[in-house]
Symmetry: C2
Subunit: 209 residues, 2 copies
């Protein structure tokens, strides 16, 4: 059965920006601080290494009863029986992913426009990753969108959406009160010296009225 | 149902060594010359590009009734309903691939030792890619093995095996009469000015008594 997801604080990993030695450490510290979803993103390792890592990370996320989403690689998601997969516009089309992965898994889709958001919903997406909100070091090719675009997408679709790209303690207040279900964070969590505290602080800043 | 495969002349693509503009052109010319299996190998393109390419190549291979095998990416193989997948020792384990891909698809495994070959058979491999036979420009990290190792593997396993790595018109005679089912070729076909003729010549050299 598809896991019911709390999208409030969605962690995305990036091994090049970590303050810890291993991704497992980062993930565990972030979960300790209240992350509610973990997406594992690996662009430059072998399939075997990605698979082995995903197995280790899944052991941790499941201990915290938090869903594990695999970026791009549907085969890795299937291989480790992850909770879902996240695809960008350069990955497999969501409609194709749905056929491969079945109805019980979560599919997230990156969307930077209303048209892409509507297409994602039509393709069977369970949630949207909307952004990039701000220019960021972790994904240098991502185009920045406006708060108005986020609002427009929010009006157009009724599936959960998280905002991504440059969300940190300074910018989080800008994405409150516009109907997004959560914030997706990379460096503002994993690059911090105190990952657990960073996660706690961001969650509190996003949730407090 | 699993396709019955003629492994005689197994083409593996590599876009960095092509004499043609597109992989589709290379594949079609090689099929015209008698290639019996096509493996699509893409290490540096997006999933979407790999998927789109695989769809286009499958249209060609199926016109020639030749199986299409996808290197490494089980999700791409599933997405395009390819005939099978080929995994190396740095890819998903064959036993895991079998669970994902089902019993009707072909799984090939790279094996450079008898132990790896036996493991591959135990994991459910349908055929082996054995090598590298000779040092090669297309896979610079591949360790070279001896003809004796090939013979040892041939004695130990009874699934089809193709040899790979530096097989060309000068070396092909060395891998005849040792019980291999076919030759796997990259640059000796796709890098040649006349791909069709190169394929024809290699097939003839390998098959003639």
């Amino acid at each position: 059965m598809k896991k019911k997801v709390d999208y409030t604080l969605y962690l995305c990993t990036d091994r090049s920006f970590m303050s810890t030695n291993t991704i497992e450490e980062s993930v565990e510290l972030a979960l300790e601080g209240g992350c509610t979803v973990v997406q594992l993103r690996e662009k430059d390792c072998s399939s075997k290494d990605f698979y082995d890592l995903a197995i280790r990370v899944k052991t941790i996320t499941h201990r915290y009863d938090v869903p594990l989403i695999i970026n791009d690689r549907v085969d890795i998601a299937l291989a480790v029986n992850a909770d879902g997969v996240h695809v960008g516009q350069s990955d497999l089309p969501a409609s194709v992913v749905r056929k491969i992965i079945g109805d019980d898994k979560i599919i997230g889709v990156s969307a930077s426009t209303k048209a892409l958001a509507l297409q994602a919903v039509a393709d069977g997406a369970d949630y949207l990753g909307v952004g990039a909100m701000y220019s960021t070091n972790t994904k240098t090719d991502a185009g920045v969108i406006t708060i108005d675009t986020v609002k427009e997408i929010r009006k157009a679709v009724d599936i959960p959406m998280v905002v991504i790209g440059g969300i940190n303690k300074n910018t989080v207040s800008n994405v409150k009160g516009i109907g997004v279900d959560g914030i997706c964070v990379i460096s503002a969590i994993v690059a911090q010296q105190n990952i657990t505290q960073a996660a706690k602080d961001l969650k509190e800043l996003f949730m407090k009225p």
